[in-house]
């Protein structure tokens, strides 16, 4: 027994190394569901304390700058508001005249990104709103420029957002004003691609691609990106794919809006605004 422990002590460097390698390999061989669960647990255990401090420091660093920006934008928005109020009243009157049915309101919950990943190929964000604010999995996450991703795991006060750059992210999309519906997701070199496009299509470089409303998560009309070039699919040459420039630069995203389920949002939540018109009308301006 003594010899055994002496052996262990003498080879502790190599044994520790082997143990860590084995743990890493076991983690890699887990099923995707277990990997996801473990990643989330590790994230909370190792990074949560750091993230809280970092989020606070980051918040104060940007507070002054943001305050000035908000003052300016507040002034401009107030001016616009007076004008829009008039337009709204006029619109209401016209709607009544046309007997438009009033649709359920949609709620946008503003959230701060408290962690944007640690690697070059980061695929997730963590935001500072959770189930207590009315969030559930599979809600669209947006910024005014367009699509960011969707919620995947929701805790009481934090939510994990799967970004459009994630290898498993997919959204049904189509060019604005055209009918060539296809799937947009992460492709070679982690760039955005539109896949499975029929050879005969009306797509052109520069076309704005928006969500098609199919698939049950993303409403119709959210900008996803613009087509840069069309090319043949590498595996099957009967289909084409389009390389895209995303509508949203993820490196510049610090705040997002989650399109929340109307029934789960409590009256005290941070509601940014409620839109009584359909989402399509919010983006698809004439």
């Amino acid at each position: 027994m003594y010899k055994f422990f002496t052996f262990l002590w003498e080879h502790r460097q190599n044994l520790l190394f082997l143990l860590l390698v084995l743990i890493s390999l076991s983690a890699l061989s887990l099923s995707s569901q277990r990997r996801f669960y473990l990643a989330r647990r590790v994230n909370r255990a190792i990074l949560a304390p750091f993230q809280m401090v970092v989020a606070q420091v980051d918040y104060f660093l940007h507070l002054k700058k943001e305050n000035e920006k908000l003052r300016k934008s507040n002034f401009l928005l107030n001016l616009k508001l007076y004008r829009l109020e008039e337009v709204r009243k006029q619109n209401e009157r016209l709607k009544e005249l046309l007997e438009f049915s009033r649709r359920s309101p949609v709620y946008f919950i503003a959230s701060r990104v408290i962690s944007g990943g640690l690697g070059e190929k980061a695929h997730v964000f963590i935001i500072d709103k959770g189930s207590q604010d009315g969030l559930t999995p599979n809600l669209p996450v947006l910024v005014p420029e367009g699509l960011v991703g969707k919620t995947v795991e929701v805790d009481a006060s934090q939510t994990l957002v799967q970004l459009y750059s994630h290898p498993e992210f997919r959204v049904s999309a189509k060019p604005r004003g055209k009918d060539d519906r296809a799937i947009v997701g992460s492709g070679p070199n982690n760039e955005m691609y539109m896949f499975n496009i029929p050879l005969r299509n009306q797509l052109e470089p520069g076309d704005l691609i928006v969500s098609s409303g199919m698939g049950g998560i993303f409403p119709k009309g959210i900008p996803v990106g613009r087509i840069i070039k069309l090319e043949e699919e590498e595996e099957m040459r009967i289909k084409m794919r389009a390389k895209m420039e995303p509508a949203v630069d993820l490196n510049k995203v610090s705040e997002v809006f989650v399109l929340a389920d109307t029934l789960l949002v409590s009256p005290g939540s941070d509601l940014i605004f409620e839109a009584t018109d359909s989402l399509t009308q919010l983006w698809e301006r004439p």
Binding site: F36, N43, P167
Partner: protein, 160 residues
Amino acid sequence: MSNLKLVSYALALFFIHLLFYQHLALGEIYPDLFLILVVFTGLYKGPEAGSVAGFFCGLAQDSFSFTFFGLHALIKTIIGFSTGKIRHGIYSNNYLVQGVIIFVAKLLHDILYYGVYFSQGSGSYLHQITIRTPLAAAYTCLLGLGILLLINFRIRIPSR
């Protein structure tokens, strides 16, 4: 340098990575501050500390990846251990050598990481390895040397 000092530098680097990671990017070229931390720990404290630092830094990075959870931890453990092992075999009490070690470590890291990353799709592994990785390695190496100079600290490898 005391253990306490090393741990405080490590924590500072960790915070810098979390706070300014996106701002440190030069276009699409990102430095790997965790790798600098792993290499320094391996060089200064040996294979045990190097592999443990590599494992936990890698795990922290992996916690943002669903698909390749464990891959950063595996590669960084290997790098931390190898750096600790070779520290007596080379003239590593020198800024230039330390810079070269960071450069080579980043190259090896990316060759292994993206080898697995792109194995699931038709991605341009070659583009990543031949263009972006050498640039990222050079940037990481310069940043590593910059940190050493900033804190006026030269890694003195303890004799066997």
